[in-house]
């Protein structure tokens, strides 16, 4: 009986995902461009696609850039998110409700919409961000172009991504924090423990499993991120010097219609992201949080 109930999910996922995944592996070993797409038939070329990707200096530069980008984004998301969650514990109830409502509102914003708002806030003619920074005497940002160098383009993408990712992290960590026993914290404080000691020895162990899940999910999302940087930097300004892996894959595989090479890049991405998050997944399994 239970098998009968589970069967539809297995069939649907198998048909929609299983076949493409099998196809992904097969494609990566074939020459498969537009001609082959029309013919519905690729030509087996062994590991040639992988070789060509691994000998492409753009791949290596993009990979390093993406890893740095991922570490920065995940780090900011988790650290700022945890700090905000800790703040939520400290504030009065009405401020907590206000902040939570704000977070939920931000959470609900569709990424494509958020990109357009960012474009408007940072536009060169009269972006409100430029105005505010100038007025607050942070510096002269009058008609400052936020999208000149790859670094600033990716930094703007980071602000957008972290802003969008914060609500989920804050709300989840806050939920975990509510499981920290207040008696234990109080006892530690009476014993004269410094507040960072209380955090490290009492609070941290409780929220660690949640932080592990959030970190590995964030690594997966940020490593393969596409929508925000692609739309924020703008199709016309996407060049190899600001590629991230998701965009590299899209440009090489889809735009140039070299599907075999694209498949090889996808597999390499899967392997790399698995390697990056394995530490966290392993700790998660050890903590018995999975299933």
């Amino acid at each position: 009986m239970p098998y009968l109930l589970v069967a539809p999910v297995v069939v649907v996922l198998g048909a929609i995902l299983g076949y493409p995944i099998y196809n992904l592996v097969r494609l990566s070993l074939q020459r498969y461009g537009l001609f082959e797409l029309i013919q519905h038939h690729g030509v087996y070329i062994g590991l040639h696609n992988f070789g060509s990707v691994l000998h492409d200096s753009v791949f290596w530069h993009t990979l390093v850039r993406t890893i740095v980008f991922t570490i920065a984004n995940v780090g900011l998301t988790i650290v700022v998110g945890t700090l905000l969650a800790l703040l939520l514990v400290q504030v009065s109830a009405w401020v907590r409700i206000l902040l939570t409502a704000g977070l939920v509102l931000v959470w609900a914003m569709p990424p494509v919409v958020a990109v357009q708002v960012w474009n408007w806030m940072t536009n060169i003619q009269n972006g409100v961000l430029n105005y505010l920074l100038t007025e607050l005497h942070v510096g002269d940002y009058f008609q400052h172009n936020w999208y000149v160098t790859p670094f600033s383009q990716l930094a703007m993408s980071t602000t957008l991504i972290v802003w969008g990712a914060l609500p989920f992290v804050v709300i989840t960590v806050y939920a975990a924090l509510s499981q920290v026993s207040p008696e234990l914290v109080e006892a530690a404080e009476i014993d004269g423990a410094a507040s960072w000691r209380v955090f490290k020895d009492v609070t941290m162990p409780v929220i660690t499993p949640v932080l592990l899940i959030l970190t590995s999910l964030s690594i997966l999302w940020d490593f393969g991120v596409f929508t925000q940087p692609y739309l924020l930097i703008g199709q016309g300004h996407i060049v190899p010097s600001n590629y991230l892996m998701g965009i590299y894959l899209f440009e090489e595989g889809y735009v140039r219609a070299d599907f075999g090479r694209g498949a090889a890049i996808s597999i390499l991405m899967l392997v790399i992201v698995a390697a990056m998050s394995i530490v966290y997944v392993r700790r998660m399994i050890r903590l018995g949080e999975l299933a």
């Binding site: 400290q90 998701g246 894959l249 599907f259 694209g262 991405m269 899967l270 999975l290």
Partner: protein, 277 residues
């Protein structure tokens, strides 16, 4: 005690400041949408729309393909959510009410699938759909969306079903119904709120989706609303920020309302699913 009160005031001030920073982009979008052209183009920003105008909204609504693409989004999202929910529901029942071999494996698989980077599947999906001439049709996107909301839905629904006490259904079984019969008659009404919440969340996820819609649909008349919005900037020389913000607001409103309605329930369903084996 006084220092404690002072400290709390400090934290409160910080909390309010952060609230302003976090919410500002959303406020700026809505506020801009109602401003006049002069206020938008001025070098000194107008914070609140003092002479609110609806002209940007009517402009956005009259752009080519707006309504077509809203309709496309609705078709794609409603069909994929309906199919995904019915399939996911039965699996969730099996996972929470029966113990069977492979159950753990199945649950781990449901998380594992969510971990596949979407970008990695674009290429093979495109090629497979091209083989069956489903590129540039809504069917292709519907299939992709079903697969992308299914694992999450199974997981959350399971959380809701676990929350229902077994006694209820045992009582019904004593009365002579089969296990599944008892479930359908007595427990389905109890799971209904969870089912609604999960569907709404799946609705939002698919409504917001961009990359698959972008790659699998090429025709302007066959695109979804997120792709339509992403092309908005490129269609003219002088950017019409007012209309862009009005269009953005229109795209976000249904999502925001739905999300506000169900977010609590979803958080509950997710954590239930994660805590109880």
């Amino acid at each position: 005690m006084r220092t404690k009160a002072v400290r709390r005031t400090g934290w409160n001030a910080l909390g309010i400041a952060l609230f302003v920073v976090l919410v500002f982009p959303v406020f700026w979008m809505v506020s801009t949408a109602f401003k006049t052209e002069d206020q938008i183009n001025s070098l000194t920003p107008t914070w609140f729309p003092t002479h609110p105008t609806l002209s940007h909204f009517s402009d956005a609504l009259h752009r080519p393909f707006f309504w077509t693409d809203v309709k496309n989004s609705l078709i794609v999202v409603l069909i994929s959510v309906a199919i995904a929910m019915s399939v996911a529901f039965f699996a969730a029942v099996a996972l929470s009410k029966y113990r069977f071999t492979g159950r753990k494996l199945f649950l781990v698989l449901m998380i594992g699938i969510q971990m596949l980077p979407a970008a990695g599947l674009i290429i093979p999906l495109y090629v497979v759909l091209a083989r069956y001439h489903e590129v540039n049709t809504l069917t292709g996107v519907i299939l992709v969306y079903i697969a992308s909301v299914l694992p999450f839905s199974v997981w959350t629904l399971r959380g809701f079903i676990i929350g229902i006490p077994n006694d209820l259904e045992e009582a019904a079984m004593v009365d002579g119904s089969t296990r599944l019969g008892a479930f359908m008659r007595i427990l389905l009404p109890l799971v209904a709120p969870g089912l609604v919440a999960t569907s709404v969340f799946a609705f939002i996820t698919s409504w917001n989706e961009y990359i698959f819609a972008r790659t699998l649909l090429n025709d302007q008349s066959r695109q979804t609303i997120t792709v339509w919005l992403s092309y908005f900037l490129g269609t003219q020389r002088q950017t019409d920020w007012g209309s862009l913000m009005a269009a953005s607001t229109l795209t976000a409103i249904p999502v925001v309302i739905f999300f506000l309605l169900v977010q609590r329930k979803i958080a509950f369903g997710l954590t239930r699913g994660a805590v109880k084996g």
